[in-house]
Assembly symmetry: C4
Homo-oligomer: 498 residues x 4
């Protein structure tokens, strides 16, 4: 078989163009000539590594088995003789140098006081491409901001003189014990921001009894994560449904076999959103390697997000739900519900829960926040007699940065909330240690806030503890408009320039 072959660097280097394109990944040589036009990220990016070792570029964006899964075995040419590769002397960019300085200058992790702090550090220490991918949201980025602001339009009605000498914020989520009323929500491509990627989450979650949701697009492979799990550690699985349902079936059943306790099917992403910050970063990248594209018709301005998501099936519909119920016994949760109508459909379809979510503001801009939708959903389900129902759990995600955000969601009827970017930034900034610090901060905040609310346990969090009457006041803080001022100030200018 090809696996027995051992090839040399110079041999590979001969296949460095569109007509014959070989690349090296993880010590193996592949012939990707015919795959070039099928590559979701475009041919150009592969051609950049034609005849060379592409591992470093490949790794943070693909699960380890992506190439072996997508390429027919006949194209697996064999192993590379490591000694024969001419080590490219990689020039350290100015950005990279600054990044290293920032990394060295990070304050000790104990100095991090809140979840915002991680974002500040992450921005300084991760590559700008990673920042663009993680922080971007769709269109005018109104929904991502609304996610944060919506929580701040819910106000507390704290109760006093209750004995809160001990308070307990642990709960169960889909029957699994959780030390916090939240779970680590799925985020993709963790290795872009930290070499250990999502494993940092896995290890920290194990130490603190928190449940991790594994992303379909994680840069660590599913099995890698499971292999690193502690005994008894619980996981959920986030699923992008593949156009090829067989791939999905295998993936889901494999997950169930390895003990995953809940299947979160993403239903708000028939196509991944246009995230312009991410797309611009791609452009900068493109223009830096302009010589490659001469004379080639290439698809550009896609951004990382769209490049990696072409397999997602836009035809997914309610009709598919019974099929999922037929292939797994895991609880099925629909992630990305935005209306009461769909919440009712979900309940009636017999799934075990829903996540009220706008995908972190990354899909449909000016979609409402999960916390706002929660009020509508609970009201509608209650009217139908569907709520409360211990068999149907309601989650919320988007914009959570404080334990107080979580407590508001629970008071309004959520079982727990998902926290994505905040944990992502925590490991980008400090690796596993950062995630543990983030959990510890949540714990401190839960303790304080439950005491100050007069809530001894999660069950004490009732709707009367919040005033959510301003939640649907959609006053958007629009970006500064200089039009009016330039009208008025031109005259002032005439006076001042004398």
């Amino acid at each position: 078989m090809a696996d027995l072959n051992v090839l040399t660097g110079p041999q590979v280097a001969e296949h460095a163009n569109r007509d014959s394109c070989w690349i090296i990944v993880h010590g193996k040589v592949y012939d990707v000539t015919e795959f070039l036009d099928e590559h979701p990220g475009g041919a150009r990016i592969i051609l950049k590594y034609a005849g060379k070792d592409a591992t470093e570029a490949y790794e943070p964006i693909h699960p380890p088995d992506a190439i072996t899964t997508n390429l027919p075995v006949s194209k697996h040419l064999g192993a590379i003789d490591a000694g024969t590769i001419v080590k490219a002397v990689k020039e350290v960019t100015e950005e990279e140098k600054q990044r290293q300085v920032a990394l060295a200058a990070r304050p000790p992790v104990e100095n991090i006081l809140n979840l915002h702090d991680f974002e500040v550090i992450a921005r300084a220490v991760i590559p700008s491409k990673a920042w663009a991918y993680y922080s971007s949201a769709s269109d005018d980025e109104i929904t991502i901001r609304e996610n944060r602001m919506a929580f701040q339009r819910v106000w507390f009605r704290p109760r006093i003189l209750r004995d809160v000498s001990s308070v307990d914020w642990s709960t169960t989520i889909l029957g699994c014990k959780s030390s916090l009323p939240l779970y680590i929500s799925a985020t993709a491509l963790g290795k872009l921001g930290h070499p250990e990627g999502e494993l940092t989450l896995t290890r920290a979650a194990a130490n603190h009894g928190v449940i991790q949701m594994i992303a379909t697009l994680a840069s660590c492979s599913f099995d890698d994560i499971m292999d690193n799990a502690a005994s008894g550690q619980e996981f959920f699985l986030q699923l992008y449904v593949n156009r090829d349902r067989e791939i999905t079936r295998k993936y889901v059943q494999h997950a169930e076999k390895r003990g995953v306790k809940g299947l979160f099917i993403t239903v708000d992403a028939p196509q991944l959103g246009r995230r312009e910050k991410d797309m611009r970063m791609k452009q900068v990248d493109d223009s830096a390697s302009a010589e490659v594209q001469k004379g080639q018709e290439v698809k550009k301005d896609q951004g990382v997000a769209r490049a990696i998501s072409s397999f997602i099936d836009p035809s997914l519909s309610w009709k598919d739900i019974p099929w999922f119920q037929s292939i797994t016994k895991m609880p099925i949760i629909l992630k990305g519900i935005s209306t009461a109508e769909d919440a009712i459909f979900a309940y009636e379809a017999g799934v075990q829960g829903i996540v009220l979510s706008n995908h972190g503001g990354r899909q449909l801009d000016t979609a409402r926040s999960g916390i706002e939708v929660l009020v509508e959903v609970i009201t509608a389900l209650r009217a139908k007699g569907y709520h409360p129902d211990p068999k149907f759990e309601i989650f919320v995600d988007g914009g959570v940065r404080r334990a107080s955000d979580v407590l508001k969601a629970i008071a309004l009827g959520a079982k727990a909330v998902g926290v994505g970017r905040a944990f992502l930034y925590s490991f980008c900034a400090y690796g596993q240690e950062g995630v543990e610090r983030a959990i510890q901060i949540f714990r401190d905040e839960f303790e304080m806030n439950m005491r100050l609310l007069g809530a001894k346990t999660i069950d004490d969090l009732v709707p009367e503890m919040v005033d959510a009457s301003a939640l649907n006041q959609h006053i958007v803080t629009v970006p500064r408009d200089n039009l009016f001022e330039s009208t008025c100030e031109l005259l002032m200018f005439l006076v001042l320039i004398i």
Copy 2:
């Protein structure tokens, strides 16, 4: 006849003052002495070119036939012997130099990701006079900003798990097929911003199946545009009604004969608004040529807008509608409706549609946005049994920059929306190529947003897909007020200056 005459530069140069004023336009010589005081833009601007070739100044502001139409044949003095004109060595201004640098520095058009981007480029590459004319709005420019903000106060209620593998956003507008649920709305004086003016729109529209509305004040003549049309390409006509109805009758009937498919009569501009940014630019211009005005009483601070619009008839009223219906079979649409009352009048007057519009914020400041008026109008028409009615189409314009804006309007009852400035800026920035890129961006956004909304076709866009409850929350972001801070900070100043 005069046309047979051939005059020389020195002959013309002798007539360079108020008492005898000849000018050259497009190679012909005209005696404009008696016309000086009738010129809508004032005598002064003509006197600047007395005895000289005025073509360059004339062209972007006037349709080619303006001078021949307005001047009696006896004043058409003949052709100029081109070789005899002393080519004025035109000094390149500092602004012009910067403009050329900016033009050369434009990023490739593929790097444009959204409609805002065109505005950024246009601002950098067009003459400041064009920017002032295009971007200005009336008074405090509150309505122009409200137009944008109003869309951002409408939030989506997207539906999930519908098969959106193929989505279709094409529609028909007044019976014409349109590849997008929008049309290119009329904007004036395109050549101020790009030498090819409105023809860039015509050519791009042809390539993409989009309908162009031709403006009365286009700087390319109506026939020029029609002559450049592709076979089967559809047009609408925007009409400013002339005090001399005969001129209007001819114009309308000529348009109908040439195949125009809809007559959009502007009803919100009995007088053009005071656009101060435009007026200030005129002042700067004036003071640069101050020597001309010595001893002359001249009308100043008019701005381009008012200079070109004196022919518009402020007496236009409902009584005129039957006359329009008598002179054309084209569908008649009233452009500039702002209340439910007038929408009902329009319906009962038997016209074929209305545009809810505040003229891009350029007329009455603090008029409400079209999208807000839409809700009021639909409610009122429905109560009368006038809606829905396929014979009466409702359009909205003002502030549209995203496909999501369009989808909101359609969900709330509009047939399509008009997009003016966004296309204008696209050709100012990149000519025809810019317009095509703008259309492509719209297409990308329509595809994504319809999928994310769960709408397979335009018909799936229903009122329940939006939450417009905040639409009438008229919170204006007023310009920063320094009064309070100067009160508080004076003391701080005393401390700090030590």
Copy 3:
């Protein structure tokens, strides 16, 4: 008599201290020793001019007859021999030099396009003390900003297709013809900002058929203004009621005799507000002359406003109304009503009108704007059958800068509006010419806005032409708060300082 005496500069100079203090004003010598402690502005400011000519300081703040009225005849010591005064070589301050530069650099008055422009110019060319007095408002200056913002929360519902070839915005106010639906409201101390003071208003008003309201605290005397009036020119009188009613009686009856057509009694100022910007300016002034105050107990931090207003009677009450009705046949208008309750009281007290006003934001901070109160008042009067009533006119003032503001007030039920600061700034910037330009701008704006509204005359302005539903949304734009950001950014700082 003392008037026959002629004194010399050296003679006066001997009386330059607390024990014997003479001053020269307008060529006359006065012994103010006993008056020192009664001076509303405090003794210190007089002592600064002890033994010297105080005319320049006296003039902008006092009506010409203030000193002769307040000082017993025995203290009128005689005339000064002008040749014997040592002309103080007055040092030109840095501020004054800059002011002169700014004055010379003013753009031509035709370049002024709106009322805001005058404010910009005025700020640059008047002494900072005048700016502080004119522009200041009480406490946190919330109400002064609200006055402007409230108009921007009222939106137009313009009507179309009405024949607006001629529009007429003239009206009558208290039976007097007015070319505009507004009057020049009373503002004090005009000479602080322009040497001709309020006479600039008088002359401009005469030329344009506008009614001027004369202020009790005008720096030109009442008779001076009347003597400069054109034949047939109309005036109103603003009245601060004196503790000594006899003074008030004489003042009112004198005004009536000279033909004043309306008496506007200020009812919102039992005490003048704390205007901190004005008070701070006083402090700066004080510290500049610190040597004077050594060893003296002086009242400080009063500001101009409070210094000049100590005569106002805080006991004024509804019981006084019949007395006013007994001393004059002029229409009586109560200026400074802020509630429906008091509007009803006023109607029932038999006065001829009210001004809904918060005194330009200079009295009670967080009082509501006149335009907001208007809606409440009209509703309440209507419910009582008191509105409409041609014998009871309702005015509004505060924050008016645009004809559109005026039209909104009239649509909502006001007869006319008062414009104070905007005219004040116009003469500060350009004298009489500025006021005329301001009136011309208003005229241009009225013409345009009435056409765009579809209103041919003032009577066409009906409530349905505005949407005032957001008027009582009291969202204050509070000054920027740096607290939160300093919390978040401290950490960032730690990173960046490396």
Copy 4:
């Protein structure tokens, strides 16, 4: 006894580590070796002074008797021979030098015009650690800002033509006369900001007939304050309830014996909030003394607030109220009520009053403001027939900076308001003189505002005098979000960098 011992500096200096740690405080030597781990502020801060004189660090944070109370008598080692201590030559830090410059540069206290001014001065002249402790609030500091903004959402409806020649704003609070309708609320650790600490309040209060509430955590001891009281001066006591009720009992009964007239039990602080600004300051401090912590496991990032509050009992509950009623005859007021429900509980528990308060924004973030809660509470109590009731007084605190704030609270039903930070900043800036100036400013503002409101006495302040309809419009001014702008401006950057 140990008290007889006299020890020398060198003797003490030998005990300078974890194994044997002696310190000097107020001339006495203590062995704190065993206390190290019990110290609420952590061992590290003590070890910094091991073997040395700790008085200067001890004093502003502890009441004088803290050490003697907490340490068994056996650890009181004796007196120090003052002459034998090597006076540490304390290096004057850069911050301290700047502070001294700012102190010298303060404007005269008469130049202070409002309460905000004190904050400006205080910030400049107190140590940054004090500023962090005083100004910090919990989490995102939303509630502290809301406290100020909420008052600005209440608007006045002033009445006119009432005889306000004399107005009287004095009142009684819990039966005690008060010259102002407010009291000085408890704030902790006054000596951090001024060497005389809370005594400045005591002396100023005496001079002006204002009631001072003494804080449990005052840096002057309770008796010190009482000993400095004027004859007849009234006090209230703020109480943090100790886990050891006996300590609380003694403290309360001692206070009653010394004449305190009201017991304000803090019920909103079972645990002190996370105030991140304070915590960051602690970190800076820590890293400056990093050498101390080598090899030691120390609790960090606590901040001053949490360090001093570990004795507070989180188990305090309604069940404890009868016990308080059994140990004192003082009126009992519950400080920190935030809901109508708890107000009703309080009334029914038979206490004499409540303070609607969120602890100055320092406890639960996004708790509502006291003034907002007031409307809910008054409505609920009235519905139960519990209001008005002269035996049950309702107070409000948080964000008060103007007399107008106070008047709004009283109009809405409060008996008086508490003012904390504003007085704190006044003594930080100018000592006792500052507090007196603050009181004088309040008096000036009360006089003016009551006149302008048309209220002769406190009883004239009725609900109709305010429009509180916007009070529950929870529009938070969130911090500036740069996300959107960076999306849009990246392209602009590309153009501009050429």
